[in-house]
């Protein structure tokens, strides 16, 4: 057993310290699917800042007053790159009034564009959207008798993810379906910020079960007061 633990100075005190360096007009990625697995602490800290003009890459845009809805309410977002943006009245209003720009991307293509950004692949071909308005202006090409369209990578100045457990080296483990876009986004930020429910010393987590190796994470902190709002509570009797 190796006695020397890798120790790195990735730990920041809280969300306010974590978002230092995020400036107006930057591009940021935010993990989560709906309100599941969103980085609540960092979003709240951004909502208290004067940062605006952000391009946000996120599968969804939150709900009124929670998640990215908090940033929309304060007009901090100029453009969203998402696959589905329902459930948000303020979003609709800003979109219709032209205050907000939206680039709709098929969900799997969005995930792959982010993966490509993190993996250093500038472009790739997918079948999704061929023959639809998503393909407008994009090169198309036939492979083995099927048509594909070219998509480009996505990268961000900052990627902000939420994990279940993390260690001081930045290794991350996600829980259940709160993983979603977090794991892939963690790879695609020039600086990746991870907020975790439980921060433990390096060497505590089983290396066999790490989802995000620490190399992708530059800042980490243990978040507080997770609300974990549910959009639709559905139950069965019993």
């Amino acid at each position: 057993m190796c006695e020397i633990l890798l120790t790195m100075n990735k730990i920041v005190k809280n969300a306010f310290e974590a978002i230092k360096g995020i400036e107006s007009n930057m591009t940021i990625m935010l993990g989560g699917f709906g309100l599941c697995g969103i980085p609540e602490n960092c979003i709240a800290a951004l909502a208290e800042s004067d940062i605006n003009g952000l391009t946000c890459i996120s599968n969804n845009a939150g709900v009124d007053g929670f998640g990215l809805g908090m940033l929309l309410r304060r007009h901090q977002i100029r453009k969203m790159i998402s696959s589905y943006v329902g459930e948000n009245k303020e979003f609709e209003r800003q979109l219709l009034s032209g205050e907000l720009e939206v680039e709709l991307t098929p969900q799997g293509t969005l995930a792959e564009r982010i993966r490509a950004g993190g993996a250093g692949i500038p472009a790739f071909f997918v079948p999704a959207g061929y023959g639809t308005e998503v393909a407008e202006g994009k090169p198309v090409r036939e492979f083995e008798g099927k048509m594909y369209l070219e998509e480009r990578w996505l990268k961000a100045d900052f990627a902000i993810v939420k994990a279940w457990k993390g260690d001081t080296n930045g290794n991350l483990i996600y829980k259940n379906t709160a993983n979603n876009f977090n794991q892939v986004m963690a790879t695609a930020g020039k600086i990746t910020i991870a907020e975790v429910e439980e921060l433990v010393p390096a060497g505590t987590l089983d290396p066999n079960y790490i989802h995000t190796p620490g190399v992708f994470v530059q800042r980490i902190f243990q978040g507080t007061n997770y609300e974990k709002r549910i959009e639709f509570t559905t139950t069965r009797p019993g």
Partner: protein, 218 residues
């Protein structure tokens, strides 16, 4: 009599085969899960990162970190697996999902599908629908044959923005089961008590009727 939503789902469940990995869309497709034949092993995929969707939780089991693609709280069956969105769509895009069932506003006789955008109405986005229709090995559309005004939704050409081109294999509507063929919609089965003529009247696209058309058995 036209099928109701549950009957459409029940008919679609007859398309399932033991060992299938299946993605069910929102709406009628979700109901298919209620009619999986006893003893058949079907694994349901949720594109937000789960293989092995279980039933809705009882009140004490509700977990905000465990939802389906419709953002409803769910459970995971024993033997389930969680993964991230890029792995999820690798399963879909890579052709590892055997069957996708989804709804539609319109389907054309060439198998085009329109399901995500109505001009003039607010656009919410395509979510994973374009990825799913472009890549699933088999795609069944669950839909009403006509809109509330009685106009056909099975058309020669779709009028709404497309989700995918030439991808639909089979349609189960409230009136009929139809296959998309190079020559048009081929009538396979009709809803109990619904005549071939009624289905013809409700279908704008070319309809192929060969021989006696059996009634749907549920």
């Amino acid at each position: 009599m036209a099928l109701d939503k549950n009957a459409i789902a029940k008919r679609i469940a007859k398309e399932l085969k033991d060992g299938y990995y299946v993605n069910l869309g929102i709406g009628i497709p979700t109901l298919v899960a209620n009619f999986i034949p006893a003893g058949m092993q079907i694994v349901l995929q949720s594109e937000n990162g789960l293989l092995g969707i279980g039933p809705f939780p009882v009140k004490d089991e509700v977990d905000p970190d465990l939802i389906n693609a419709g953002k409803q709280t769910i459970t995971a069956v024993p033997g389930a697996a969680f993964f991230d969105s890029s792995a999820s769509f690798a399963m879909i895009r890579g052709g590892h999902i055997d069957l996708t069932v989804l709804g539609a506003f319109e389907v054309s006789e060439e198998g085009d599908i329109a399901s995500w955008k109505i001009p003039g109405k607010l656009v919410k986005g395509m979510g994973g629908a374009m990825d799913l229709v472009a890549s699933a090995k088999n795609i069944i559309v669950a839909m009403m044959h006509t809109n509330p005004q009685g106009e056909s939704k099975l058309l020669r050409h779709c009028t709404l923005p497309l989700t995918g081109v030439g991808v639909v294999k089979r349609i189960v509507s409230d009136l009929a089961v139809l296959d998309v063929t190079p020559d048009g919609f081929k009538l396979i089965e009709r809803a109990p008590g619904v005549s071939v003529q009624e289905i013809m009247n409700a279908t704008e696209g070319r309809l192929i009727v060969e021989g006696e058309i059996p009634e749907i058995e549920l």
